[in-house]
Subunit: 244 residues, 2 copies
Amino acid sequence: MTGWLRIVGLGPGAEGMVTPEVTGVLAQATDVVGYIPYVARIAPRNGLTLYPSDNRVEADRALHALTLAAAGRRVVVVSSGDPGVFAMASAVFEVVEPHPAFHALDIAVLPGITAMLAAAAAAGAPLGHDFCTINLSDNLKPWATIERRLLAAVAGDFAMAFYNPRSRARPEGFGRVLDLLTRTCEPGRLITFARAVSTPDQSLRTVTLAEARPEMADMRTVVLIGSSATRRAGPWIYTPRGVA
Amino acid sequence: MTGWLRIVGLGPGAEGMVTPEVTGVLAQATDVVGYIPYVARIAPRNGLTLYPSDNRVEADRALHALTLAAAGRRVVVVSSGDPGVFAMASAVFEVVEPHPAFHALDIAVLPGITAMLAAAAAAGAPLGHDFCTINLSDNLKPWATIERRLLAAVAGDFAMAFYNPRSRARPEGFGRVLDLLTRTCEPGRLITFARAVSTPDQSLRTVTLAEARPEMADMRTVVLIGSSATRRAGPWIYTPRGVA
């Protein structure tokens, strides 16, 4: 048996957003590796071993998956959303880089519907013009980098999508982000809080920057910040294609 | 018959990247509206009317689709990639906004695999950390806005994805973009030219900024610019999850 590794995205939650090519490799897999709630989305079957693991062990998980594939297994690493957006693909390549033995492995990344695009679709088209995508977690980068990127995004008048805005371990950061935006953007700027998009728990709420509160976000929320041009069209939010 | 409008993304080209929910609404549609090459991807069948139209008539196309849905038809507007990323969703809401009669229509946007994420997956994970997404066409915005956003993206040390980098009608702009990057970034910055991703014509080429030439891009190309941290891991390109 020739082993391979596929790093796949399961989309934000709805089964109707899992691409057929991802469903196809899952049907051929001998092993599925990933964070507990994502592996829980994979139906057990004979011949398939599931390896759920906890948060914050991405490097160990990547090494485990690569080792299985090098031993001849057909391994799928699952992420929610898209594996290349704040998910497992970078973690795998961080482990591949210093291990030349892994450079000849059959590895491929299969894209998925990332949370910000599912959230934008649910709201209308707030990311319909130039935008920035920023991870607000400071677990792996200094807070100063986050502030520098926020200020650059404001200076460029980009729309923005924030991943990981707020968690129990990081309750304070998102308030600082809203403070920074309040100092640099007009109070009527539109902000959409999209929680658990495409799942039965989905909720969507659009407010102005002046109305936004840190408690409106949690770890299941993606936050979409409009550019200065983002506006309402009936019940929908969108950013026009043109800039005057 | 109660009409509805679905604005859907067909992904970058491969049928294996079309989501099941998009396939599902196409099966229920009475009418499909879109740019000629995207409508050409929809199989004809009895009871389905196809309305292909040319480029640059997005507002007319949107009004046509909304009018059909208001008359009770089940209408799908097709885009390639994701409909909310430089595609038809914003064009539809631009027409909805000034027409209150359309505000109560049953409209939904169904996300798709956008070209930059398929391109990033094909290369590895170059968008694995904070990134900006910029449309380089100046058809609908002044060139000064493009330059302002490029400079902001460089100042924030974002990775970048460029849509519509170069066309026969706009042969000069992308050279100016490379000049701007050359003045502001180190010459070893990694740039991936991803053409016709996921189709039989796919080609992928990664060079340094010093080696990049305008002719490496055309209208079927997405260009991915690394951040200062983007690097190689064997044959793959990726951006690490952390910032030191």
